[in-house]
């Protein structure tokens, strides 16, 4: 086992002890080694046992530690064509991880960024717990191992050049994917790769360079795949050319989880381009030459549907159940003056631009799948089991994803594509229509929050936050990793543990308790960008404003006085200064501020809103400051914070889903009102604090602060206390017929 037995040294390994070793290969290929002076060769793949949850400060620490043992299976290769290749065991869904990791490699290896490739790895079953994309943890878990790989490779390349030129290795320098001698001779890494693979011991240090010498890490850098994205050549799952693949869509029930009672497909089968109709567990698939023809034929199916598990469930019932499920406050808080508040948050579909989709080519003895997936190993396992094939007979290619926000933790489209391909005997391109995606896809669970703050002499004495949520489905996706990891832990299982490892009050509020209770409704939910924090911390930031108001304190000054960390105060000060907190605003306009810390990062957001028409509010200006410890790519980080801002604007003001008889009424972006250009500010200032430590997470960081700031600005502009989000959420549209 590569992990030392005791928990403390395990963490030290995670932070400091990542080295690399040589893999037997004709050209230079290095892999990670764990621990100082440990064995120089990889041990056989084995499933490590996991430490107790209490060893970890947050979910990211746990995920990083879980990923570390199999980090030795990450490899970095130098090809003879002078390409530096690191197969990335993560999903690229827009968050920019393929750029960030390429930057880390380029910096440590002294390679040109344009010479580095970070293709997405197929599912590799040996990468247990290290091929999960989630928890804003990709940079946190890869920063150490990837630098170790690159540093080892660089040392061996320098050694090979020294041998070739008969020069002392320490006289050589590296730059631009080459080794350079004092006399000006150069050799590309590609030309040295074969010799470097034969180096037995590097003649120069194989340790990562000091962070003070970073020249790529920390430099604002454009996406490595930007040109492909703006020319239309970037390949998403349904863009992959699989010969003979046919288009498939699935007729889905009029209520989530409904069943097929009977099907009359006689009309559909005779329609142009139709190839086959096939029953699968989730509905009736129609296969045709084009998606347009498949959709037309699907509409011609005559299906009698049986009820589903939530056929009788609508928003009013869910709200009632949530209110009944909120854990009670403690008795202590009754003794002093108190402030109570309750908040409701609606369901929010993930609705990535790329609807749920996959390509599958299932043969008698093997299968090949193409899909964007944050859990490709679990997808491979599940599809293999479904098809009755050994896991290694299923190849799971991970394609770039057109957004995720948590959705691609689940791989239901890949499973359906495999089912249809097996039934029909052809390669299948399966796509969910937008209405399928909004109505039968997954959602951020609806929540109800009760908060109680007690205070005396201008100080908060206690803070209680009680949350009832529709159950968050962690069973696949992050649940695969977590379920395995948490297998030894006591119930009540994942939601409580995720909640415990992610939710933290950043203020000195005396006695603080946060409790969660989830109700097990059979709706399709999943982690949604920033998971519990998107609602829990947003509600809390609204409460902080209300407490400040009650105590006669300025919202920024009150936060500043109660924030626990100097880092947090610095971020808040910066946002107040850059955002001109307190500047005069016209009637109906106001500023709002909020703060959030998670993933070892912290951020503050200050927005200005025009709510002169409270039904059509517009955030007009936004200032965001973030401290992520060590930014890898500030430009990519700013993009993530910008996305979080848009999520905050959308979910607080206008975007959610209504459940009626077990199905969302919304079916497209016409009624699921995710923000468009006209709803977003034309003045945005995002500032990243300088590096001070280890990289924290950032992909989800921006959402809670943005949501809180928008809600607080709206409240101040309108003189109201919004309690239910999104604020403008009438059913003022005609729902698409079921």
């Amino acid at each position: 086992m590569p992990i030392p037995p005791d928990g403390d040294s395990r963490m030290k390994v995670g932070r400091r002890g990542v080295l690399a070793f040589l893999v037997a290969a004709p050209t230079l290929t290095v892999a990670v080694r764990l621990g100082m002076g440990a064995e120089a060769a990889p041990t056989p793949a084995s499933i490590p046992s996991l430490p107790d949850v209490s060893d970890f400060a947050d979910l990211g620490d746990l995920l990083t530690a879980a990923a570390l043992p199999t980090s030795r299976l990450l490899t970095l290769q130098i090809t003879t064509a002078n390409r530096v290749v690191l197969e990335l065991p993560r999903a690229e869904v827009g968050q920019g991880i393929s750029t960030a990791v390429a930057m880390i490699v380029a910096d440590e290896l002294d390679a040109r960024l344009s010479d580095v490739d970070t293709p997405l790895s197929d599912a590799r079953r040996a990468l247990v717990w290290n091929q999960l994309t989630g928890g804003s943890n990709s940079v946190r878990s890869l920063y150490g191992p990837v630098r170790a790989l690159a540093a080892e490779a660089r040392a061996r390349l320098v050694t090979a050049a020294a041998q070739r030129w008969d020069l002392p290795a320490d006289r050589l320098v590296t730059r631009d994917t080459r080794v350079v001698a004092p006399d000006g001779r150069t050799a590309t890494y590609g030309s040295l790769s074969a010799a470097a693979a034969k180096v037995t011991a590097p003649a120069v240090s194989a340790r990562p360079k000091p962070e003070s010498q970073h020249r790529v890490i920390g430099r604002p850098t454009r996406r490595v795949d930007a040109r492909a994205l703006v020319t239309g050549s970037a390949e998403f799952a349904l863009d992959v050319a699989v010969p003979g693949a046919m288009a498939a869509v699935v007729a889905r029930p009029p209520t989530i989880g409904g069943t097929v009672a009977s099907v009359d497909d006689s009309a559909a089968k005779g329609m142009p381009g139709v190839v086959a109709v096939a029953r699968i567990p989730t509905g009736v698939a129609v296969v045709a030459e084009t998606f347009g023809q498949a959709i037309a034929a699907r509409d011609a199916l005559k299906i009698s549907w049986g009820p589903g598990p939530v056929s009788e469930l609508s928003d009013v019932d869910i709200r009632r159940q949530l209110r009944a499920a909120v854990p009670p406050f403690g008795p202590l808080s009754l003794l002093t003056p108190r402030i109570d508040a309750e908040f409701d948050f609606a369901f929010v579909p993930h609705a990535p631009m790329e609807t749920n989709c996959a390509v599958a080519d299932v043969r008698a003895d093997r299968a090949e799948i193409w899909a964007s997936s944050k859990t490709p190993i679990y997808a491979q396992q599940t599809i293999a089991a479904e098809l009755g094939l050994p896991q290694d007979r299923v190849t799971m290619h991970v394609t770039r994803g057109g957004g995720s926000f948590g959705r691609k933790l689940f791989f239901d489209a890949a499973l359906e594509a495999a089912q249809v391909s097996r039934k029909v005997g052809r390669p299948i391109r399966l796509m969910w229509t937008r209405a399928d995606d909004v109505r039968h896809g997954r959602m951020r669970p609806a929540t109800h929050h009760r908060l109680r703050v007690t205070h005396a002499a201008g100080q908060v004495l206690s803070y209680e936050h009680r949350v009832a949520s529709v159950q968050t489905d962690f069973r696949t996706g992050i649940g695969e990793a977590l379920s395995a990891m948490f297998a030894d832990l006591v119930p009540p299982a994942y939601p409580q543990l995720v909640f415990r490892l992610t939710e933290k009050v950043p203020y000195n509020f005396g006695l603080v308790t946060e409790l969660l209770n989830e109700i097990p409704l059979k709706l399709n939910t999943a982690s949604w960008r920033s998971v519990y924090s998107a609602t829990v911390r947003a509600a809390e930031e609204i409460m902080v404003d209300e407490v400040a108001r009650k105590l006669g304190r300025d919202p920024v000054a009150f936060r500043r006085a109660t924030l626990q960390t100097a880092r947090g105060r610095a971020v808040l000060d910066a946002v107040a200064s850059r955002g001109k907190w307190g500047r005069p605003m016209p009637a109906g306009h106001a500023q709002g501020v909020a703060y959030h810390e998670e993933y070892k990062s912290c951020t503050a957001c200050l927005v200005e809103i025009d709510a002169t028409d409270p039904r059509r509010p517009r955030v007009t200006r936004a200032t965001i400051v973030a401290d992520v410890g060590r930014p890898i790519n500030p430009k990519g980080l700013e993009a993530q914070l910008l996305g979080g801002l848009t999520d905050g604007i959308s979910t607080i003001l206008q975007a959610g889903a209504h459940i009626d008889h077990g199905l969302p009424l919304e079916s497209s972006f016409s009624d699921f009102r995710y923000a468009r250009q006209r709803h977003t500010p034309s003045d945005v200032d995002i500032h990243i604090m300088p590096a001070t430590g280890e990289p924290g997470g950032a992909g989800e960081l921006g959402v809670p602060a943005a949501a809180g700031a928008v809600a607080n600005a709206y409240a101040r502009a309108t003189g109201t206390s919004p309690r239910s989000f999104p604020i403008n959420f009438d059913v003022d549209f005609t729902p698409l017929p079921r």
């Binding site: 920019g96 020319t231 848009t646 999520d647």
Partner: protein
């Protein structure tokens, strides 16, 4: 089945398709032109935005029959060889794309906007309806302004 001839990105094509088959599926499923993306199928999200005789269309709601004898331009036809269109270049300069799925449509919508309104105001840019679920709107705005100044 009827046949329709038109040009796509300057090349003549002839396809056999039902008259009401949406251009999006002719492009993607018959011609292998995958830059235009499906995002809703009802002309709302505009991820598929392309041009017909130089004007903005949503191919997901444009019957192929309407294209007969006309000129279709998709994102693939915007650059001049290796030289990007100024709007594409502005998108690169501003590092607009995140997942990138909507960006072909965003770029084609921006090109159409700048043809109609060479120096758009913020209010003009507000009228671009294309959805970006990654929320890149501010960078889209900056890129449109940059391309307009080009």
């Amino acid at each position: 089945m009827p046949r329709y001839s038109f040009t796509v990105n300057g090349k003549p094509v002839t396809v056999e398709a039902p008259a009401d088959l949406a251009l999006l599926w002719v492009l993607r499923d018959k011609l292998g032109i995958t830059g235009p993306k499906y995002g809703c199928g009802v002309g709302v999200c505009r991820a598929c935005t392309s041009h017909l005789d130089g004007a903005e269309i949503q191919p997901c709601v444009t019957p192929v029959a309407d294209c007969a004898g006309r000129e279709v331009t998709t994102i693939e036809g915007l650059a001049d060889g290796d030289t990007l269109h100024p709007v594409q270049q502005a998108w690169l300069d501003e590092d607009v794309a995140q997942c990138g799925f909507c960006q072909p449509g965003q770029i084609m919508a921006a090109v159409a906007l700048l043809r109609r309104t060479p120096n758009p105001t913020d209010e003009d840019i507000d009228k671009v309806e294309n959805v970006c679920r990654c929320g890149t709107y501010f960078r889209i705005r900056q890129a449109i302004k940059k391309a307009a100044a080009h």
